[in-house]
């Protein structure tokens, strides 16, 4: 949760109030807080003089942004072509079932967020799932169970 609007203001100042930096500012907020709260949009609309509907359009257009709070752990399955030919859809299905969450969403207990991504560039490992920054190539069902059980 953003403590104060001063955080947003600091970011706007960092980019010298340049409206064309909107996307960069949103990326910074996402990175820091793991999501984009509504208050951020309202403040940015004021400071950058960009209509609110345009900010919403940008925030909902891009995959990098979450407009709802994210889970404690992030699992990302690579759906690039090379991983696909090595069976990533099956891996995605397994992970979906294990975590009980759909891609792009967060489990109701806020434990996991599951994302898909197109090509992490470690195609030789494929199919790949990244959990909290750790890469796992060709994980078996047992391995996945172990990995997720270790996440609080």
């Amino acid at each position: 949760m953003i403590a104060a609007m001063t955080e947003i203001d600091k970011l706007v100042d960092k980019y010298q109030g340049d409206r064309s930096a909107l996307l960069q500012i949103l990326l910074d907020i996402q990175r820091e807080y793991y999501w984009l709260p509504k208050e951020a949009f309202l403040r940015l609309s004021e400071r950058l003089e960009i209509p609110l509907n345009q900010i919403y359009q940008i925030a909902t257009f891009y995959k990098a942004f979450s407009l709802v709070p994210r889970g404690r752990h992030l699992a990302t399955v690579c759906m690039g072509t090379a991983c696909h030919v090595r069976g990533s859809p099956r891996l995605l299905d397994k992970v979906k079932d294990m975590l009980n969450v759909a891609p792009g969403e967060t489990s109701s207990d806020m434990r996991f967020t599951l994302n898909k991504v197109n090509c992490l560039g470690c195609c030789a490992l494929g199919p790949v799932v990244v959990v909290d920054g750790e890469y796992h190539g060709k994980p078996s069902t047992a391995e996945l169970e172990r990995i997720f059980a270790a996440c609080d």
């Binding site: 690039g80 079932d97 030789a124």
Partner: protein
């Protein structure tokens, strides 16, 4: 690095100084630190080297450094020891003490870590003799292995920025432009448009404010050439960009890096800072009077934003959607100003052309496509990784001589090039020389360089669906033919895969394809039908099998596949029974196991866990599954 270079002589002096401080006979250990090898733990490997070298008191004798991507991604972590060029593969942190003791101290090769020829079994310790590297022509990517991307000194030591110096002081902007035009560098991002022509249009367009842009949005799934260049040798791209800016008359540039490439972003920003400190960017570059600054702009996860007009909208702070206006961005781009956008690899080619000349550059390649091209060779191929070859190398050369062919004794089926805008190329065309025009003739395209190899276990209908699914999410959704057309094509493919295909479906796909490619607002929609059309063209029989026989020949499409335990082979080991997540397997100790089809979710676990000496689980498609064995059938014991 605090010396500001104020002249070409300063640069040369710096270069000589760096080289003088480096003893060429002194061993250097380079550890690949591209994102791929980092996934294998290369950060631990480099740390292990630093620690072990210190532990053995060798700091004065040996240097260990993290470099950019070496390209042999299948065998990461890749380590090369210079000057002998000993190449160790699949290196883990635990291997490091032995490498240091044996190779660095005793000059002995650690055989277990060298490349082993899969046919002869011979060890090949020297990097240049490894077939994967031997058959390449690594003019651009080859520098990665010598350079720590965080060190401008490494780049300068390799001759970096000499092309910029030459351009600024020995050539006029028009002469630089002429050279690039003569070299016929064609856009490496997929369009294949002659870069020189675009530069000229931008240069001649009315207006004093011009922009140059590096497109590092690299969205084709399976393609990561640009990432490796931007991560591994950002200065090479910067140098090309400044030269281009000089030729065009631009003083401001942007590098658009996709959000999924944090390391590339980090290394690029770092490189820009270093170049600025040295006077190779910013005001009065090298004392030439030419000013140029560049900013990094991060993407936020949208494939369509890699389209030129969309990318420029994103830089302006608007949504990264392609625009409707029919005016070339070279004439009216960012904020209505003439803007020249080129791909990462295109820019990286420029210093080469300036240093060695257009004539030399044109001596490589084919009639219409000069120079080299970097490909990401991935999928069902032994040696996956980044491959650089001269234009005109055949698909067979790339897939077999460099790629080592198809693993596990499987048969080649097709190679997909051009990503979601491209198509599949079957076996009969393996001897096609790869260049912009030849691949287009086959119904595919070169694209940005993704080359995905498929074997007999891949389903071409599934591949077509995969690309449509990708595009339906990535489409900006503005125009009807793309958004709704792709949606309907995807629905048809889903039906076909689910076993509900009907006669006329293929024809309807073709009809939709024509409208989508004709009427879409941008090239995403314009090329979206290509994967479908090319798979229909070369693998129509697979479509017919799915539609008429409800059969998936490759046994990939889940709805058309059933898992079955062959009673004669089952040894009742209970492994599949215990591992089935749906409890769909019946049987018990000494009793033949069988799958209750109505519970089976086709996750494939049983096939995965059945011991290979039994091989009792098979996949069936297009034929009825035999009824379960009679209750309490005992297994046929095999000795």
């Amino acid at each position: 690095m605090s010396t500001r270079l104020a002249s070409p002589a300063d640069l040369e002096r710096l270069r000589e100084g760096i080289l003088a401080n480096r003893d060429p006979s002194k061993p250097i250990v380079t550890v690949c630190s591209g994102t791929g090898c980092q996934a294998y733990g290369s950060r631990n490997v480099i740390q292990a080297f630093i620690d072990e070298i210190k532990r053995q008191g060798l700091e004065a004798e040996v240097v260990a450094k993290a470099t950019g991507c070496h390209g042999f991604c299948e065998q990461g972590v890749v380590v090369i020891i210079f000057p002998e060029e000993i190449c160790y593969l699949r290196v883990g942190a635990e291997d490091v003490p032995e490498i240091v003791s044996s190779t660095l101290v005793q000059n002995k090769i650690v055989d277990s870590l060298t490349y082993k020829d899969p046919d002869t079994g011979h060890n090949i310790p020297k990097e240049s003799e490894i077939p994967f590297y031997k058959h390449q022509c690594r003019l651009i990517l080859g520098n990665n292995r010598f350079i720590d991307p965080k060190s401008i000194q490494d780049y300068i030591a390799r001759g970096g920025y000499s092309a910029l110096s030459k351009a600024l002081f020995e050539m006029s902007p028009e002469e630089v432009l002429e050279e690039v035009k003569r070299a016929n560098i064609r856009g490496r991002g997929g369009g294949g448009f002659p870069a020189g022509k675009k530069w000229e249009t931008t240069r001649n367009a009315p207006g004093n404010t011009k922009y140059v842009i590096v497109n590092c949005d690299e969205g084709d799934p399976g393609a990561y050439m640009d990432r490796s260049l931007m991560e591994g040798n950002p200065h090479s791209v910067l140098e090309g960009l400044v030269i281009g800016a000089y030729a065009i008359g631009a003083h401001e540039g942007f590098i658009y890096v996709r959000q999924e490439y944090p390391l590339a972003t980090e290394n690029t920003i770092h490189a820009i800072e270093q170049a600025q400190e040295c006077g190779l960017l910013g005001q009065n570059i090298l004392g030439s009077g030419f000013d140029f600054t560049v900013k990094v702009h991060r993407g936020a996860g949208a494939f369509v934003s890699g389209e030129s007009s969309a990318l420029m909208s994103a830089i302006e702070g608007r949504v990264g959607e392609p625009r409707t206006k029919y005016i070339r961005t070279a004439i009216s781009g960012i904020w209505g100003q003439p803007s020249n956008l080129n791909n990462v690899e295109t820019w990286a080619n420029v210093p080469l052309v300036i240093n060695r000349g257009a004539d030399w550059y044109c001596s490589m390649g084919t009639e219409g496509s000069k120079g080299t091209k970097i490909f990401s060779l991935v999928g069902k191929v032994r040696n996956t990784g980044l491959v650089e070859v001269p234009m005109g190398a055949t698909l067979r050369h790339i897939v077999y001589e460099i790629g080592g062919g198809i693993p596990d004794g499987k048969r080649f089926k097709a190679v997909q090039t051009g990503g979601p805008s491209g198509g599949c190329i079957p076996e009969q065309f393996l001897d096609t020389p790869v260049d912009f025009d030849e691949l287009t003739k086959l119904g595919s395209m070169m694209g940005s360089g993704g080359m995905i190899v498929m074997d007999e276990d891949n389903c071409m209908v599934d591949m077509a669906r995969y690309f449509l699914d990708f595009l339906s999410e990535e489409s900006c959704g503005k125009c009807i033919p793309c958004r709704e057309g792709i949606r309907q094509m995807l629905k048809i493919l889903d039906r076909i895969i689910e076993g509900n295909g009907k006669d006329g479906d293929v024809e309807l796909l073709e009809e939709l394809s024509e409208v989508i490619s004709d009427a879409s607002l941008c090239a995403l929609g314009g090329t979206a039908p290509n994967p479908v059309l090319s798979t229909i063209k070369y693998f129509r029989d697979e479509y017919e099998a799915h539609i008429r026989e409800k059969r998936c020949p490759a046994k990939v499409c889940k709805p058309l596949v059933s898992y079955y335990i062959v009673p004669d082979k089952c040894q009742a080991c209970l492994i599949c029974l215990r591992n089935c997540p749906e409890d769909a397997i019946n049987g018990g100790k000494n009793l033949v196991h069988w799958i209750a089809q109505e519970k089976c979710t086709k996750c494939g676990t049983c096939l995965e866990v059945c011991p290979s000496r039994f091989n009792a689980v098979i996949m069936l498609s297009g034929e009825p599954v035999p009824s379960p064995p009679a209750e309490k059938t005992e297994v046929l014991r095999r000795r």
